[in-house]
């Protein structure tokens, strides 16, 4: 039985100005310290749901609750509790240097410059970005940009991380790094909502999975249950994780 939600979406519907219906009555929740994965094909509405949950898009219907309070009541101050990492790091990194980018949110929150410096150095050290702090973001490799984008959010210690396709176009090494980060976050009680098509990552780190197709939640449950349903995987254009496939092969042998 899942309990104590930190984020809850109640019947979220969203339509873009061009008439595209991206979400249709989506209900989902994220518990404290839980990693929840949103799986689904391209265009399923995963990114839109993250933007709605971050309070950046206003839903047509439904509400987003943070600790059982409507985020509209909480106002922009709600954003310090959630950290959204965009799929394309070039959208996320817009400051003259990596240091300024990581410091951006802290400065916006009015931290004194000394405290900003010490916190930025701490996070950069954790993510292996110390040597890159004075570089402009566009001089970084794609993997470094992804790490820097993650640092811009981790720096203000949000209670919920919202990650949009965090492993897209990245090496297995970065995926392993991210997996470690998510598991570490789980250990310290940080929640995470993860929009991804990386079934291996979802299987290894997620506690709960929602499968989105054409803006609907078509299935939900723990990874073991979701990945057993072959018809569902086919509908959602997904595949079984490598671990399950290996287990099945071993059993067959």
């Amino acid at each position: 039985m899942r309990s104590r939600p930190i984020l809850t979406c109640t019947g979220i519907s969203f339509r873009y100005p061009d008439g595209t219906r991206a979400l249709r009555g989506v209900r989902c929740s994220v518990l404290e310290g839980e990693v929840v994965a949103l799986l689904g094909p391209n265009g399923a509405g995963k990114t839109t749901l993250l933007l709605v949950v971050a309070g950046l898009l206003e839903p047509e219907e439904g509400r987003v609750l943070f600790r059982e309070r409507d985020i509209r009541e909480l106002g922009p101050g709600f954003r310090r509790h959630v950290g959204l990492v965009f799929q394309d790091p070039d959208d996320q990194l817009f400051c003259p240097t990596v240091y300024d980018d990581i410091a951006f949110a802290l400065r916006q929150l009015g931290w004194p410059e000394e405290a900003v410096r010490s916190r930025v150095l701490e996070v950069a050290g954790q993510l292996g970005l110390t040597g890159l702090l004075e570089k402009p973001p566009y001089r970084l490799s794609y993997g470094e940009k992804k790490k820097a984008a993650l640092a811009t959010v981790l720096v203000y210690e949000p209670e919920v991380l919202l990650l949009d396709e965090p492993t897209a176009f990245l090496s297995p090494r970065y995926a392993a790094f991210l997996k470690h980060l998510l598991l570490e976050g789980k250990r310290v009680g940080r929640s995470c909502l993860l929009a991804t098509q990386d079934v291996d990552l979802a299987y290894e780190v997620a506690d709960y999975i929602y499968v989105l197709v054409s803006g609907h939640v078509v299935a939900e449950g723990p990874p073991e249950r979701v990945f057993k349903d072959e018809e569902l995987l086919d509908t959602a254009e997904l595949r079984k994780p490598i671990k399950i496939l290996l287990e099945e092969r071993e059993k067959a042998i």
Binding site: L51, D91, F94, P96, Y138, T152
Partner: protein, 271 residues
């Protein structure tokens, strides 16, 4: 990809590369106030002062720009920019030779057409070209010498709200990205042209790329705006540090002296 990139795609790639190189951090540490003041002084001097009558001092801005580009180790970037600007300028000033009234020094005969090139037209075209090239080359060379961030921090002194330097930074940050994106769009479209390359197909490629680029730029602007809001944006666009903006050194004094001397020589045409 098998298809060779077209001229425009290569041109856009070169522009993106030049902008990227200009935005790089530099070792030269001039006070931001000096950086922005000298940039404003030199470019205004070159843009608003006539280089005519032609004397050795008329070419002082170009010579100084050449020296700066060499010192900034961006001579290749500088020459590429100058070359491209010269091509564009040639297209722009060409009509001036023919449409300016005055004494004809040569007449081009093309069938029934007779196009007189006038002395006044030549003089105006030359003056305009030299002003543009001098101002542009000084701007590019100075930026390559002191670095973009020093100029942005200097700009922050003039606009304490940070709006103008913030916008200038975002432009410098995203224009190379958009230019590269345009290059990729063109290359992708050209790669899918199966028939012989004709004017009509080239036009279609260009028009559809421009439309797509506009849409992509709009979407990127929207996403960057969302990214700012999601990171607790409270008012100031991009913080551009003003620390040390007024800490002058001997190097600042030296460059102020050089700029002043060039200014006097150029204005008085003493050489």
């Amino acid at each position: 990809m098998w298809a060779r990139k077209g001229l425009l795609a290569r041109y856009l790639e070169a522009v993106g590369e030049v902008l990227d190189r200009l935005a790089r951090e530099k070792e030269v540490q001039l006070a931001p106030a000096t950086s922005i003041s000298i940039l404003a002084f030199l470019t205004s001097l070159a843009a608003f002062t006539s280089p005519l009558p032609l004397r050795p001092s008329s070419f002082l801005p170009l010579a100084l720009a050449f020296l700066l580009a060499t010192l900034g180790r961006e001579l290749r970037t500088f020459l590429r920019t100058l070359g491209l600007a010269a091509i564009w300028l040639a297209v722009v000033v060409l009509p001036l030779l023919f449409i300016t009234p005055g004494e004809a020094i040569y007449t081009l005969e093309a069938g029934p057409l007779s196009l007189p090139i006038t002395r006044e037209g030549t003089s105006r075209a030359l003056e305009f070209s030299l002003r543009c090239l001098s101002a542009l080359s000084l701007g590019v060379a100075w930026t390559s010498y002191v670095g973009l961030s020093s100029l942005l921090r200097g700009l922050a002194l003039l606009d304490p709200t940070g709006t103008v330097p913030g916008m200038a930074f975002l432009t410098a940050r995203y224009v190379p990205l958009s230019v590269r994106e345009a290059g990729r769009l063109l290359a992708a479209r050209e790669a899918r042209l199966m028939g012989r390359k004709e004017l009509r197909s080239a036009w279609l490629v260009l028009a559809s790329s421009c439309g797509e680029l506009l849409l992509r730029a709009y979407h990127r602007a929207w996403r960057v705006g969302l990214a700012m809001r999601s990171r607790c944006l409270s008012g100031q666009l991009v913080p551009v540090g003003r620390e040390g903006a007024l800490e002058f050194s001997a190097l600042d004094a030296l460059w102020a002296l050089v700029a002043g001397t060039v200014g006097v020589l150029y204005l008085t045409k003493a050489v």
